[in-house]
């Protein structure tokens, strides 16, 4: 279940469609302050099903749709598409025939939100089910947000439990 490709369009500061390929090994993301690096992390958390706008640094979910700039008007929709390779067949049984799995999420200014798996409209539950037991998810130990690395150290002992339960 390696990440192969990420496409972002209309999500936060990515007004024009952009695509990033991720070869295996280590990929670095660099750039000046405020250019959009952490917005990419937010885009990945969002397409994996994040429901709380505060975890994406917003007040309400609409904040993730491109809100305009000096030279551009606000957009009406945000879409993120994440493509995984399924060569090792890790995904649940009914996806066994697919060598790639594409999940996508859309949000319209109207508040309507859509989820897709391999271009078939699905529910949030389907996306969450797809990833159970793979360690991928919005809360897991696999995404460390900016400034949060020390979280495990300063948390109360009871609050640390959830990371261990996630792994169990």
């Amino acid at each position: 279940m390696k990440i192969k490709k990420l496409t972002i369009h209309g999500f936060k500061s990515f007004v024009d469609k952009v695509a990033l390929q991720f070869p295996s090994g280590t990929s670095g993301i660099i750039g000046p302050n405020g250019c959009g690096k952490s917005n990419i992390v937010d885009a990945i958390r969002w397409v994996l099903g994040e429901q709380n706008a505060r975890h994406l640094r917003g007040k309400q979910m609409e904040d993730i749709i491109f809100n305009g700039s000096e030279s551009r008007k606000p957009l009406g929709m945000a879409e993120v598409v994440l493509t995984f390779s399924n060569e090792e067949g890790l995904a649940p049984a009914h996806f066994a025939n697919f060598s790639e799995i594409e999940i996508s999420r859309r949000l319209y200014r109207s508040g309507e939100s859509e989820y897709y798996i391999n271009r078939v409209q699905s529910r949030l539950r389907d996306i969450v089910d797809l990833f159970t037991d793979t360690g991928i998810g919005t809360r897991a130990y696999s995404i460390i947000e900016q400034g949060q690395v020390g979280w495990l150290i300063s948390a109360k002992p009871e609050d640390r439990r959830s990371v261990f339960e996630e792994a169990a």
Binding site: S13, T26, I30, G135, I153, A168
Partner: protein, 150 residues
């Protein structure tokens, strides 16, 4: 689930006792449950002792020591239950040059089992990456992606 939690906890604890000394070039660390008799409610305590120092409450560790201890624990969990990818957003920011080198060495090792995406401002970490993307805002407020190394 009580059994599963206990076994996973013990495995992660054993791994943490390996990853911590690799990050700190020595020293020791371990995990403890706050209440052994009630595994399903117990919290997890972390004991960490950098080389040459007395064992003290982890709140007294420095900013860099806390970041390294947390990373050693995250990588221990990762080694027990690998996830297909790992995303680290400026985790190397509080580290000094010697610790950045150790961190980068460890990440290169881990990237044999999972994909790593690293956001960084540090030149050493940039050089270590297999592929590199630059994010720019030449048009103010509009993010674009440039492929720098592939």
């Amino acid at each position: 689930t009580r059994e599963r939690f206990r076994t996973t906890f013990d495995e992660i604890n054993a791994k943490f006792q390996e990853t911590f000394p690799r990050f700190f070039n020595g020293g020791r660390a371990e995990l403890r449950l706050t209440d052994d008799s009630d595994i399903l409610e117990a919290g997890v305590e972390i004991a960490a002792q950098p080389p040459g120092k007395r064992l003290q409450n982890i709140s007294l560790l420095s900013g860099g020591e806390k970041a390294l201890t947390a990373t050693a624990l995250i990588f221990a969990i990762f080694l027990i239950k690998p996830s297909p990818f790992c995303l680290l957003d400026e985790v190397d920011a509080p580290l000094d040059d010697a610790n950045i080198d150790r961190f980068n060495l460890f990440v290169r090792d881990m990237s044999k089992i999972s994909q790593f995406l690293l956001i960084t401002h540090n030149k050493k970490t940039m050089e270590m990456a297999d592929s590199l993307y630059g994010i720019t805002m030449q048009e103010p407020g509009v993010s674009k992606v440039i492929t720098l190394k592939f």
